[in-house]
């Protein structure tokens, strides 16, 4: 690759931005783990510098015409060359900035949240690892590099979800997250290897170039590899059918959830899709599968969110559904819609999680009814921020979500998937409904009256100061409010992504925003009717249908099914079968061999030992044989 002129400078900045968190991770883990404040300072410093670098790069390359690539050979083995490098183009730059910003903000927020935890230093170490892995993933120049950091992202989230490993549920959730995403990654790796065998390279510019890929791969192979790689995305982004790990991942510290849900772990999946958009769009089947999976996930998760009582769970389900939404947008053929929603979602989802954390922090419970009863509405900034975030999530103008959601809906309408469009509309309706259900439950608690004052602070982490938390909240809220207005510049910027970017803007359906707003208004009204107004019993319509309530509450029994399959097929089936085979058949055969040797020895021992007369008999018999041999033979 010929380095372009402005590269060295940008390269140094990018490399520094990438290496600083790694350095922070190393230093914290090796040296300063027990010194909490220092560790936090190192980590936040590294994240802050990365953010600065990201902003610098964004400004520097705002007008970029061609993607910048720098690659170095990392490892050579025979015919195989594994490069490592940096690819800067609008997609990676914007994601880079988002990741850097969110991880910086979350780390600052954690100052207050995690204060006093014995693993404080370790926590910041893992956060740095997380940031490093995700940042590097975004600017990876080859698919293999993406896979490597994809796995590292999984590792970091494993460590962070199971951060409070004293709790069984936390370690179990970490394990579940890792194993389920790993299941998807198996497909990803397989697809990647197939692709490598066909193309001989995994460089992203090559992969996303329709001309080369189309020339070297048969359509069937493209579809196969695309579907396999999509398997990895399904696992990472918690799409159907691998979606059940994400709600469980709430066991980790809440800032981790914020990071996980907005910009890193789950976003990696959608990011990969947008990264390889040019490749995926070569296979209509893969796009259709993507659209279908996205639709199913979105609807499933929305229904689950309607009956959840745990505030974090609600947002977790909404993440799944929003990721499904992004995939729908991407599957419908619009890179910009998906990527834009990814960016806006990163902002408001982080905001929502951090707000939820403030509630949990103050009320000491995850149950939203309980939060309402304990006077959650008195936490003014959290309430306002939640409303902003929920508004964005529901697509209310003028918040950021409104623009991105409307883009996706428009594309769905254009792309000729009426079913998907209807499903998306239903999903949007449900999203608004459950978001405002949550808000109304917190704002208008029932049978409370004598709630304990919020000043009592009986949450378990109350040592930290408040200012980092509120500052971060308002920052994110500000971003959520204004980001939507940058749609056009962002679009222009991303349009320069070069190959694979379909710049077609959807035909403007002027009725669509109005309709969407109306839909949202209806949903809000219904939520108000059921939860908000004075006489509301705060029992949703779903909860009045036991069958649905049960189905949704049990996550469509997916978890049970997986558990059952795992227990019966893996543990009790194959594993036990193999173990029995090992003990009985293989070991049994060999032990049998040993025993039969011993038995043979016994026989020979009996012949040679034991009673005199046996020996005599043998001797005489042998003599007779000898006589016969000599007599007839000789």
């Amino acid at each position: 690759m010929q380095p372009a002129t402005p590269l060295p400078n940008s390269l140094i900045v990018t490399a520094a931005a990438l290496l600083l968190p790694l350095l922070a991770f190393g230093v914290i883990m090796l040296a300063t783990r027990s010194r909490h404040r220092l560790s936090a300072a190192i980590s936040i410093g590294a994240a802050g510098l990365s953010l600065l670098a990201a902003v610098y790069l964004l400004v520097q390359h705002w007008q970029m015409q061609a993607p910048l690539i720098f690659q170095a050979v990392w490892m050579v083995s025979g015919q195989m060359t594994i490069p490592i490098g940096i690819l800067l183009d609008p997609i990676s730059l914007s994601m880079f900035a988002v990741v850097a910003a969110i991880s910086f903000l979350v780390q600052v927020y954690s100052l207050g949240y995690m204060a006093g935890d014995p693993g404080f230093g370790c926590y910041y170490g893992c956060m740095s690892l997380f940031a490093w892995a995700m940042l590097t993933l975004t600017v990876s120049s080859s698919l293999l590099q993406i896979y490597i950091f994809w796995e590292l992202v999984g590792l970091a989230s494993y460590l962070l979800i199971g951060f409070w490993f004293d709790k069984f549920s936390a370690s179990e959730a970490g394990k579940k997250a890792f194993v389920m995403t790993r299941t998807g990654d198996v497909a990803f790796l397989l697809g990647l290897v197939l692709l490598w065998l066909q193309l001989g390279t995994l460089d992203i510019p090559v992969l996303t170039n329709p001309a080369t890929v189309g020339a070297q791969l048969s359509p069937g192979m493209i579809t196969l590899t695309a579907l396999l790689i999509f398997g990895g995305i399904v696992g990472k982004s918690a799409q159907f059918p691998l979606l059940t790990w994400l709600p469980d991942a709430m066991e980790g510290p809440t800032p981790v959830s914020a990071l996980l849900h907005s910009a890193t772990m789950v976003a990696a999946g959608v990011y990969l899709f947008s990264r390889l958009f040019g490749f995926f769009s070569l296979s209509p089947t893969a796009m259709a599968v993507c659209l279908t999976i996205g639709t199913i996930s979105m609807l499933l998760a929305s229904t689950m969110a309607m009956v959840a009582r745990d505030i974090k769970q609600v947002w977790a389900y909404s993440t799944i559904s929003q990721l499904g939404f992004m995939l729908m947008g991407l599957g419908a053929g619009s890179l910009f819609a998906g990527a834009f929603h990814l960016i806006t979602h990163a902002g408001f989802k982080a905001l929502l999680f951090l707000c939820a954390d403030v509630f949990i922090h103050h009320c000491g419970t995850n149950d939203m009814f309980e939060i309402g009863r304990q006077g959650g509405r008195r936490l003014k900034s959290a309430v306002v921020c939640t409303i902003i975030g929920a508004g964005a999530l529901s697509g209310l103008p003028p918040l950021s979500g409104f623009f991105s959601k409307e883009m996706i809906l428009g594309h769905l309408l254009d792309s000729g998937h009426p079913v998907a469009f209807l499903a998306a509309a239903v999903g949007a309706f449900l999203t608004t409904y459950y978001s405002f259900r949550l808000i109304f439950i917190i704002l208008f608690p029932r049978d409370s009256g004598d709630a304990p004052p919020p000043e009592s602070h009986d949450g378990h982490h109350h040592a930290g100061s408040e200012w980092p938390m509120t500052t971060v909240l308002w920052c994110l809220a500000g971003v959520t409010v204004v980001l939507g207005f940058f749609q056009t510049p962002l679009h222009d910027f991303l349009a320069r992504a070069g190959t694979g970017f379909q710049a077609a803007t959807p035909a403007h359906h002027s009725w669509l925003p109005v309709a969407a707003c109306l839909l949202a208004a209806v949903a809000i009204l219904q939520a108000w009717f059921e939860y908000g107004r004075k006489k509301a019993r705060q029992i949703g319509w779903v909860e009045q249908i036991p069958f649905l309530a049960d189905l949704f509450g049990q996550r469509w029994y997916l978890d049970r099914l997986y558990r059952y399959l795992l227990d019966t097929l893996v543990y009790r089936g194959v594993s036990r079968l193999f173990t029995a085979n090992d003990r009985r058949v293989i070991d049994g055969a060999l032990d049998g061999l040993g025993r039969s040797t011993i038995g043979l020895g016994r026989v020979i021992d009996w012949v040679h030992g034991g009673m005199i007369q046996y020996r005599l008999m043998i001797m005489v018999a042998a003599v007779i044989g000898l006589i016969l041999f000599i007599g007839w033979g000789g």
């Binding site: 007369q613 008999m617 005489v620 018999a621 007779i624 006589i627 016969l628």
Partner: protein, 175 residues
């Protein structure tokens, strides 16, 4: 068929019957006595076959010394319970088979020698000639045999001696 031939078959019958009786007696004294009878028959056979000296030795050593030794031992050990006569079928059967097999095989082998079917002329080796022959030709073997007998004498003494050890005493005292 001469008288000698008839005598041979009579003696042979005696030997075989006496031996068979000896082999199958439960009472060991009876068995020894039948065997003595068998040895007397053998001695007669030796005489018939022209070995008068050996016939005498047979009576003196076999029927006299050795069988008496057996009788001494049988009386000495005074078995409280006589052991079972034969082994269970499992072992008896192979024993019979092997013995019969040997008989068959040896008979067949013997029968295959055509030179053996011619009747032999009677002859006599006088004790004097035999003694001269023995001590001229096999004097060394005779000396070695005498040494062997001496060793047997000492060995029998050593083996038969009561062991004077604590455990042996204990066993004797508390039967």
């Amino acid at each position: 068929m001469s008288i000698l031939t008839l005598l041979f078959y009579a003696i042979a019958l005696l030997i075989v019957v006496a031996t068979a009786m000896a082999v199958t007696r439960r009472n060991m004294v009876h068995a020894v006595l039948y065997l003595v009878l068998s040895f007397f028959g053998t001695a007669m056979l030796f005489y018939l076959l022209g070995a008068p000296f050996l016939a005498a030795l047979e009576i003196i050593i076999y029927a006299g010394a050795i069988m008496v030794l057996f009788l001494f031992l049988i009386m000495m050990i005074r078995l409280k319970t006589l052991p079972g006569m034969f082994f269970p079928v499992g072992q008896l059967l192979p024993a019979i088979l092997i013995s019969a097999g040997f008989l068959v095989v040896s008979s067949v082998m013997v029968g295959r020698n055509p030179a053996g079917w011619a009747p032999m002329p009677a002859a006599q080796a006088s004790p004097l000639a035999f003694g001269v022959y023995l001590f001229q030709t096999h004097w060394l073997a005779v000396e070695i045999a005498s040494m062997l007998l001496l060793v047997a004498l000492v060995g029998a003494y050593v083996l038969g001696r009561r062991v004077r050890g604590p455990s042996a005493d204990a066993r004797e005292e508390a039967p």
